[in-house]
């Protein structure tokens, strides 16, 4: 079972790779829409990749209002 910190770290790594941002520039409390510069379609793409990576289902309404990596990690952790 992953720890919350591991989950967060994997999310940051995945986001950095996918959107070609230096991993060290991403922090837990970043607004990922702003930091990654992504729109709604790209956010859906990230959601799909996170679901596959963690092998979970994340209904998009659970992510309503979620824009920082830490809260996102918490939502995923609750389904691991």
């Amino acid at each position: 079972m992953r720890t919350p910190d591991q989950t967060l770290d994997e999310i940051l790594g995945l986001a950095a790779t996918q959107f070609k941002v230096a991993r060290e520039k991403l922090t837990a409390d970043d607004d990922f829409f702003k930091t990654l510069g992504i729109d709604s379609l790209q956010a859906l793409d990230l959601l799909t990749r996170l679901e596959h990576h963690f092998n979970v289902e994340l209904p998009d309404y659970e992510l309503q209002g979620v824009s920082d990596f830490r809260t996102l990690a918490g939502r995923i952790q609750s389904r691991l």
Binding site: S40, L41, T48, E51, H52, E57
Partner: protein, 267 residues
């Protein structure tokens, strides 16, 4: 017409397979231009099916297969009309879209949707009109219409109900949540899940395989296993138009059309 190049879609018949590419930026939003060109396809399908055994539909755009109906166009057009006139206009548009999808659904060709990325609303309904859905890992399916106070209007519910269990249909429809390709395969919606960027290649390989079978047998099998739910499809148009007349829908469309939110699809 074995070849067509339009603003929103293009097709070409080659080696017994018709390939239909969707290419309206940003993500194949389905508006009046798309509908008009899709009608040209529908009118050509019978002639195409004399030379082709399969139809493959795919998107040439990176974000996905289709984001569904062009809601901004729908909102802007509705604003220029009285409510009753707007409802009548929507009914006419739905009837045109149903004719296209019913023609694809009943085509003697075997039809394959090769999807990736966003497969939402009307895009999802287009895929549901096909016999097989081949999805790459990035595909995401959703009926977000309830978020706008509507139901899917291009045959989504009757076709989902035809193909899947009722509980699954309720989940997708009533929650409005999106599901990924793996989940879509688990529930029986998608026939194959393939690697990123591989859906079209696999669809072509599948279409080539289908060409080895006796044509008359393939047509008989399809007609036997895939009834078109015409009565429910007509009822869907009526329900959609009843809902479209409600003020909440106009407010929902306005909010979507004017939103600068990064997640406008979430109410």
């Amino acid at each position: 017409m074995n070849q067509f190049k339009g603003q929103a879609l293009s097709w070409e018949l080659k080696d017994g397979v018709v390939e239909l590419a969707l290419h309206r930026e940003p993500c194949n939003e389905l508006g009046l231009v798309s509908l008009g060109e899709a009608e040209q396809l529908a009118d050509s399908l019978e002639q195409l099916s004399r030379e082709a055994h399969a139809l493959v539909i795919y998107s040439a755009l990176k974000p996905g297969f289709s984001a569904g109906a062009d809601l901004r166009e729908l909102y802007q057009r509705s604003q220029k009309m009285e409510r009753a006139e707007a409802v009548q206009s929507v009914r006419h548009q739905l009837e045109r879209a149903h004719r296209v999808l019913n023609t694809i659904d009943a085509s003697p060709m075997t039809t394959i949707a090769a999807v990736h990325g966003v497969v939402f609303g009307g895009g999802f309904e287009l895929a549901l009109g096909c016999d097989l859905i081949i999805a790459d890992k990035t595909a995401r399916f959703c009926f977000p219409e309830l978020r706008l106070g509507l139901i899917p209007g291009w045959g989504g519910i009757p076709r989902l109900k035809r193909d899947l269990g009722n509980a699954v249909v309720r989940d997708i429809l009533l929650t409005g949540r999106s599901i990924n390709a793996t989940k879509a395969q688990q529930i029986g919606l998608v026939s194959q899940v393939v690697g990123e960027g591989e859906a079209l290649r696999v669809a072509r390989a599948t279409a080539a395989q289908l060409g080895k079978f006796d044509r008359r047998t393939a047509i008989a099998a399809k007609q036997f296993i895939k009834p078109i739910p015409y009565e429910e499809l007509r009822r869907e148009i009526d329900i959609f138009c009843e809902l479209f007349a409600q003020p909440a829908v106009e407010a929902g469309l306005k909010k979507f059309a004017e939103s600068t939110d990064a997640q406008p699809y979430l109410p």
